[in-house]
């Protein structure tokens, strides 16, 4: 384990001192009790030639302003698809949101017409920072033009004024000498700087929800730590809620107030970060955390759980985790467990806790 990695791993102690979102809500921010984002029973399925892939299969969670929720889980568990579904952007042509509700500040987003989503939601109220900074920027446009694009698209400013605002945003994400660099093209930036540009594009219209999809997994460790600091600061400055997708438990622990563990398209456990790390309740979370010290390198996929990940097109009956679960019973094989609240803030979907 490298020194920097260790550092990142140790940062939760600093973070834990901060009040969790639920604690800070009543006195600090005049948010309605329901929170900023309310996701209920969201289902996004992919209709492929080979069959129906239930990439997101009944996901529910809340998120308050300035709160950070970590979404972790192994590759293919549906994290990215959850993020894309919030934007109303399941992959075309196969993907479709088949059920559920996404409410942002009380407004239902599922079922909104495409042009309303484009005009009022994407980039305006919800923005996403994607995984790979090397491919997320258009190679034939200057970064200034690209950061200015959402500002213009959402009518916040016209051509030259938008460019000026874009420079401010680049400044905000700490791109050095932003005014000059705005005229440069993406290939003239390093990976870390590109990811900052992507972040500038995402926050340019002050979204109320920021989704960061493994924003650091393609970066060097030192750059990673810097970028996470940046994200935290941006969140403070813009009051956004943050959905932080990662498969790196260290990163999640250092940044998130609460963490949702995803398995096969469902959230199997959701708890305060401290609680989850101290006492995971779901057998899958337990396996996940037990496997952490064995993770040699950052960015390695979470596969150190006994058994193979399930075939997404043909999930096991009942609880999808039962073939790999040491506590599986006959009931687990037959019936999917309901999600139940457990002591205080946590939720878990497992027959052991019903």
């Amino acid at each position: 384990m490298s020194a920097a990695k260790l550092l990142a791993w140790l940062r939760p102690s600093k973070r834990r001192e901060r009040p969790t979102a639920r604690e800070m809500q009543p006195d600090r921010v005049a948010e309605p009790r329901t929170g900023r984002l309310e996701v209920r029973d969201l289902k996004t399925h992919l209709f492929l030639k080979r069959g129906v892939l239930k990439a997101v299969d009944g996901v529910s969670f809340d998120l308050a302003a300035r709160e950070t929720l970590g979404l972790i889980g192994e590759s293919g568990s549906g994290k990215t698809m959850t993020g894309l579904s919030l934007l109303g952007l399941p992959p075309k042509p196969a993907g479709r949101i088949v059920e559920g509700s996404v409410k942002l500040d009380g407004r239902e987003l599922v079922g909104l017409p495409e042009d309303v989503l484009v005009d009022e939601v994407r980039g305006r109220q919800i923005a996403m920072i994607s995984q790979d900074p090397m491919t997320s920027l258009n190679p034939v446009f200057t970064v200034g033009a690209q950061v200015a694009a959402p500002i213009r698209a959402h009518g916040l400013a016209q051509a030259s004024a938008a460019l000026g605002m874009a420079v401010d945003e680049l400044d905000r994400v700490r791109v050095p000498s932003a005014r000059e660099r705005a005229r440069d093209f993406p290939h003239q930036f390093s990976g870390g700087m590109r990811q900052r540009v992507v972040a500038a594009m995402a926050i340019a219209c002050r979204p109320r929800l920021l989704i960061a999809d493994e924003p650091t997994s393609a970066l060097d460790v030192t750059i990673q730590v810097q970028f996470m600091d940046l994200i935290e600061r941006l969140q403070d400055e813009t009051d956004a809620a943050l959905l932080f997708i990662t498969h790196d438990l260290g990163v999640a622990a250092s940044l998130c107030h609460r963490i949702a563990v995803m398995y096969a398209g469902r959230i199997v456990e959701l708890a305060d970060a401290t609680e989850l790390y101290a006492a995971p309740k779901h057998p899958y979370s337990q396996g996940l955390l037990a496997s952490v010290p064995k993770l040699g390198r950052r960015g390695e996929r979470l596969t150190a759980i006994p058994g193979n990940p399930p075939n997404p097109l043909d999930l096991p009956s009942g609880c999808a985790f039962h073939p790999c679960c040491p506590h599986a019973t006959e009931q687990c094989r037959r019936e999917a467990p309901p999600t139940v609240a457990v002591d205080g803030s946590g939720e878990v979907a497992c027959w052991l806790h019903v």
Binding site: G123, S136, V140, A153
Partner: protein, 305 residues
């Protein structure tokens, strides 16, 4: 970038020298080159003078050097039809050919860009299928036959547009369609497949995620990316249109280089034919160089690379 350009420049020079060599060999192929260089009614003295001028009494390599030396100065002898320097005669007609080739290119792009983009955006849709059929026909139907059909229907039957000669815009339309016909298929296909890749790329996904209207994404952002591979193609086809509009120029009685060369072949006006071949090679090389340079404008990665 500059090293690359230098290399291309060298390749271009080699190609032009090669073209000169081919012309030189062709001269010798026919037996007595002087017979080609002179009108049929030339006298013995003319022959002797010409032999001397061409240095035909000297060995072949020396003759080639003389030939090259003259060629570099654009001297391919006088056209005996017109009693004027052959190259100058052709250069005089170059604007007409250029005009036609540009119009052909514009027509091809006007058709190929919307077809390619729309068939990528609505893959499997009506436009995509029409474009597919169009592409099949485009490659199988010779442009000069399209030209004849256009004359038949548009000019003769409907009398909408003039069929022959150079003049205003109206005269340009039919030959431009006939000339631009062939590249449409290939351009549409290239554009379609690169658009498909681009619309599936991470940066387009990002552009969608920040709420850019699909209209912008397709026509402003993705299209510029898609032009990068299209540029080579534009260069090749434009060069071919410039250097290969012979049949179309004859069909429409267009007073360009191609028709002059065809006339020269019939009149056995060899200096003009020679000059025409070399001019075509030079144009080909120059257009391709311009294309290489223009990459830099479209794709910044190459400009700084």
């Amino acid at each position: 970038m500059s090293g690359y350009i230098a290399r291309r420049l060298l390749q271009g020079v080699v190609a032009i020298v090669g073209a000169l060599l081919i012309v030189f060999v062709a001269q010798r192929l026919s037996g007595d080159p002087v017979a080609l260089m002179l009108p049929m009614d030339a006298t013995e003295e003319d022959f002797a003078a010409m032999r001397q001028a061409l240095g035909l009494d000297r060995p072949l390599p020396a003759q080639f050097v003389v030939f090259i030396a003259n060629a570099v100065q654009g001297d391919f002898g006088d056209s005996y039809q017109w009693q004027a320097p052959a190259m100058a005669l052709l250069l005089e007609r170059l604007p007409a050919t250029l005009e036609l080739a540009l119009a052909g290119l514009v027509f091809a792009l006007l058709l190929a860009v919307p077809l390619g983009v729309i068939s990528a955006v609505h893959r499997g849709g009506v436009v995509d299928r029409v474009a597919k059929i169009f592409a099949m026909l485009g490659q199988a139907v010779p442009g000069f036959w399209i030209g004849l059909l256009l004359i038949l229907f548009i000019a003769v039957e409907l009398q909408w547009l003039p069929a022959f000669g150079r003049g205003g815009l109206a005269n340009l339309v039919l030959p431009a369609i006939a000339l631009g016909w062939y590249p449409v298929a290939a351009m549409t296909r290239t554009l379609r497949s690169s658009m498909l890749d681009i619309l599936d790329s991470d940066y387009v996904r990002m552009e969608r995620a920040i709420g850019l209207p699909e209209r912008w994404i397709v026509w402003r952002f993705a299209l510029r990316n898609a032009f990068v591979p299209l540029v080579t193609m534009i260069g090749v086809y434009f060069a071919n249109m410039l250097g290969g509009a012979f049949v179309i120029e004859v069909v429409f009685a267009w007073p360009g280089v191609g028709r002059a060369v065809v006339d020269a072949v019939f009149a056995r006006d060899f200096p003009v034919v020679q000059a025409g071949v070399v001019l075509a090679a030079v144009v080909f090389v120059v257009v391709n160089l311009i294309v290489d340079l223009s990459y830099g404008f479209i794709d910044p990665r190459i400009r700084h690379g």
